[in-house]
Symmetry: C2
Subunit: 722 residues, 2 copies
Amino acid sequence: MRKHGRFTIPIQADFMEETKELIRRWGADAVRNSDGTELAESVQALHPAKIYAAYFVARGYNEFARTHPAERQRIFLMSARHTAVGAQLSFPIMEGYFESQLEPDYDWDPEHNWEVRDRTQGASVSNEYVHIDRNAGTVTIQKAVPGHVYTLSFPAFINWDPTQMYNYITNNWQGREKDIPFDVHGEMSWAFMKTALSHWLAQNPHVDVVRFTTFFYHFTLVYDKCRREKYVDWLGYGGAVSPAALVGFEKEYGYKLTPEDFVDEGYYNNSFRPPRKQYLDYMEYIQKYVSDRAAQLVEMVHQDGKEAMMFLGDNWIGAEPYGKYFADIGLDAVVGSVNSGVTLRMIADIPHVKYTEARFLPYFFPDSFYPGGQPEIEARENWLAARRAILRSPVSRIGYGGYLSLAAEFPAFVKCVEEIADEFREILDTIVGQSPYAPITVGVLNCWGELRSWQGYIAAHGMVYKQTYSYLGVLEALSGMAVQVRFLRFSDVAENGVPEDIDVIINAGDAGTAFSGGACWNNEALLSGLRMWVWQGGGFIGIGEPSAYPSQGRYFQLSDVLGVEQERGFTVNEDKYRTEVTEGHFITADVTETLNFGECKNNVYAITDDCEILEYSNGEVHLSAHGYGRGRGVYIAGLPHSSQNTRLLLRSIYYAAGKENQLHIFYAENPCCEVHGYRSCGKYALVNNSMESCFTRFWDGIGAEHMVQLAPGELRWLEAKS
Amino acid sequence: MRKHGRFTIPIQADFMEETKELIRRWGADAVRNSDGTELAESVQALHPAKIYAAYFVARGYNEFARTHPAERQRIFLMSARHTAVGAQLSFPIMEGYFESQLEPDYDWDPEHNWEVRDRTQGASVSNEYVHIDRNAGTVTIQKAVPGHVYTLSFPAFINWDPTQMYNYITNNWQGREKDIPFDVHGEMSWAFMKTALSHWLAQNPHVDVVRFTTFFYHFTLVYDKCRREKYVDWLGYGGAVSPAALVGFEKEYGYKLTPEDFVDEGYYNNSFRPPRKQYLDYMEYIQKYVSDRAAQLVEMVHQDGKEAMMFLGDNWIGAEPYGKYFADIGLDAVVGSVNSGVTLRMIADIPHVKYTEARFLPYFFPDSFYPGGQPEIEARENWLAARRAILRSPVSRIGYGGYLSLAAEFPAFVKCVEEIADEFREILDTIVGQSPYAPITVGVLNCWGELRSWQGYIAAHGMVYKQTYSYLGVLEALSGMAVQVRFLRFSDVAENGVPEDIDVIINAGDAGTAFSGGACWNNEALLSGLRMWVWQGGGFIGIGEPSAYPSQGRYFQLSDVLGVEQERGFTVNEDKYRTEVTEGHFITADVTETLNFGECKNNVYAITDDCEILEYSNGEVHLSAHGYGRGRGVYIAGLPHSSQNTRLLLRSIYYAAGKENQLHIFYAENPCCEVHGYRSCGKYALVNNSMESCFTRFWDGIGAEHMVQLAPGELRWLEAKS
């Protein structure tokens, strides 16, 4: 087993001797500078295989930015909502916003780009009744209707790069400059970006890998007057607007975008909104533009004999790794932060790059590395979550970030990382080039499809919300499950049917969101296509409020498939007698703890006698299964992440696919344990995903039964009999 | 104090001697036959002031009904939903229905009245593709679209009166006839009804009060193939259709109704559905027709020197006591079953009658009167609930039903009823003609308004559902609260503004229902009118999902008034920092137990810093208050019935009205206790609504503070100082 390689270590100045020892122990073959640290000049003395250097394209050159204020980046904002109580209404434009970050752009075509909307009528207010006072920073509306609510949409300059602002405020930096982001759509900015990169390349011959952090546009991140996050959308294109972009868009798409197309009633097209055509078009326009420009920078890097790596975060907007134009950029690698199986897969599954790299948690920062702290626990938990996913789809490399000197003070942590690095290398030595055993293909169906592979239910990256954890558990379960996973879009399925390789479709989300589907379900082609597909043998798993759209007597449009429907107050008058739970069912066979459906959905009830209710409490169904022709439907109220819920989903998938008799191949009975089989190399991995010792029955690749005791977190390789 | 009167006792044959004693003890001045018992011939020997006799207008004459099958009553039904999986779809018409109750009417204009609908397209299927097989009882659809869901709407005869069917099946009657209801719209039926009544009056000279049970059309009650309730709507007009009615309707309203107007996607226009114009028109048509015909019967009763009393239940459809045409009937009295303060008020507040009567629970039936049972507990609880309401708006009389001989076997119960009867008479002797102290007028705002006074959230009469108990608590609280209560309709408020006497408006219900309002909130006149009304000093209390309608960036359309909004998955990206609870608030001052919001609504959050959060748990707001101009908004997530919640609502009302400083008049601190003041007679009642002894501070009519100990359920009269 290789004790070296596939590992990137952060370095810092004045720590070179100790760094050497850690490089040896962790087997690091690449070094990088962390955010906030500079690459030490002596780094070459470490003789790493590769040296990474972070590179910022659109910020960090404040002299240029200050002298080209018209090419600052912009965003459309919506003011606070105000109710008129008389015929005149006046309010501050920037109320609630952080004025160090944002500044109204008064001069960009105000006739078109400054828009007062009557939110009670849902209509635009003529500008003849609107007066903007630049000095006072107020808007005044004449002939307002008392009792109507008004907002002002307006463009604003982004005067402070959101990530630098976040670090600045969080770390209470003093005396540093605030990075002003400039816009690639600006002619001078674009010329400057190329020149600056060229210059930087010339000055950094020792660098092997240019780690773009990232390209041109930051995800939407807006602060409030208290210097706190006010609105965040890790996937949002809000900060990618400019006069040139809107002109370019109109030229290409033949229509003009309005402020409301960006403001979107104040929801700003966040990814929970079923996307409208205007936003999809704009995303595509930006993707094409960003890919074209990024490709030119990458080409410069390649010309210089270096590799180009993209950080999946910060200014990544438009460089969609699962988008149509990503291949055009020509990147060598992508690196991203990993705190779960889902985020691991989000990196590992990216196509069109030579390698991928996961930056693991914890960061070597004082919030985890404090006197008496045990950062090795977080590191181990993070590893176990990521390992499940790696065993299905490995990243090429791993690494850590932060202050190495801080990590070095925690010997147990240093040892833990050594073990993780070795185990990672062993896994990759074994499985690279192998196809893990995955007898079922699952399609996750929503409004976004492949573009948002492993990116569902995200507001801020890596954050879990009350509204999302019950669905994130679905993706987390799938990230390390012995199935193939694809992401499907309603419109594709409606037009082209369910792809042939799909065995089971999952639709999981709150009613009305892009993940459940909302009005997308008002589509007879989608409905009849899915029904017939299930009828002929497919499996459909609905989680939360699947296929929810009120129409023609049903809320769950696929209630005939699922066998359940949600009471929305209109069927109180119907008697609901079906409450009996089917015991000893295949799906619940491994359940040992109380079932937990998270923020489960209320008032779901069985609508047919042949619906198998698997959990019934509080007067409602939370888990059920239903035969539908040769196929099956399964309903789950919610699926927070846990070993038991992961197992529940796995069994639901097998049941929905009608493949119950194939379950006991590469299978462990204990839900904390899993088996990953690699037939082509004749090996399989028995893993204990928990921090406890586990005893379990398991079945090998020919279905023979064995017993095993696994240590906490153990991964054990066995030879498969074929 | 009178020890006699205002009390109706059920009698039965072969129990006359014992009855006399009970008449004396309970002070009964009227006797009645209960369902299932005949008036004993010897009844006159009891020398009651009045003899009531139940009279059935539209059933109980099976020879007539059998010989006039075309005039049986009818209902439009929707078949089970079926998904086509090929080009032909065939299914049984009556699948799931109870065939002893219902029978397809194949001959009533099948071209128009039998309709196959494609529920996936939301369209009617041409009859050329539909074949009905009467012998097989099936429908076959040709050229069906695979994967589409189909239903058949069809008219059916009601061959069994639903109430008699219920009693028959519940009591397992053997050998009795099944009552066939006949239709007042039929010419021969109407003639027969008059003749039969005339004949009956002639044969029953000893009867003083004809208790109509009731008139012509039963509320919607449909049984399933297992002889169980399948669909029930105590307010439903489904069973009031006939060829003559639809012809009459078209003539009067100028348009033709379709089966779908009745079937309503299978929701059958239940009262949770925001009513559509067609249904409102039809209700009005039936009300006019029923009132006209009922008036003629009542006139016959009056001509015979008797009183006419209506039972509010069973066949009461069209005889809406709060409708526009009720006065025309000319009734003397209404009697109804009472199991709560709400049902008491539903009877007591009925206008245009000389007196009202409450039939209390428990019925003298074996389910309450079994060996070892304590029916007096149920009687006492029922009385305490009703008494609160009586102290605000008294019924004129009370009574019980069932088998008197059964009740007589329970001496504790007999004594309890004696005490209730005496207390009732004492209350009425004191307060009749007085206006109870009620310094605030509350308007309950929904789609139904006055027509459904005290009739919100009802599926089956007196039944509480998971979907309704959190709102029924609002009405139950109001039924005995020291406020005036009015019921308002969205359309009236939108057109005419808030009536001048209203201090506080309550909107309480699940999103989309007629009680919350659904699309009614998509009305700028309603919204701006309410906002300005609150701004100028009004109070708005939203409960559950008030003003919920997704539009222009808000779900709660009056979120600016309430200061809270509901997260529906589109504002996950917004940071929500407002979680701090305002302690020591006026609204929560009397809270002693854990707050209980019932089926509370998820994900409500404060949207403004001046929103006073009064309860925050599970990451969401369940109780809050918000100043809005000179008025106020209050949000409550749900309000199941309890003393504490009743107090919470009372204080919310005072707070919303800005009348906090007037609370301590006729007020008791302990939420189990209340004070009802009657200034004009100089008295007030201190009541303990609980079955426990209570100690409380209280304030008299001039706001002077006292202390008192009240026995369980005690009512104590005190002299008011003025």
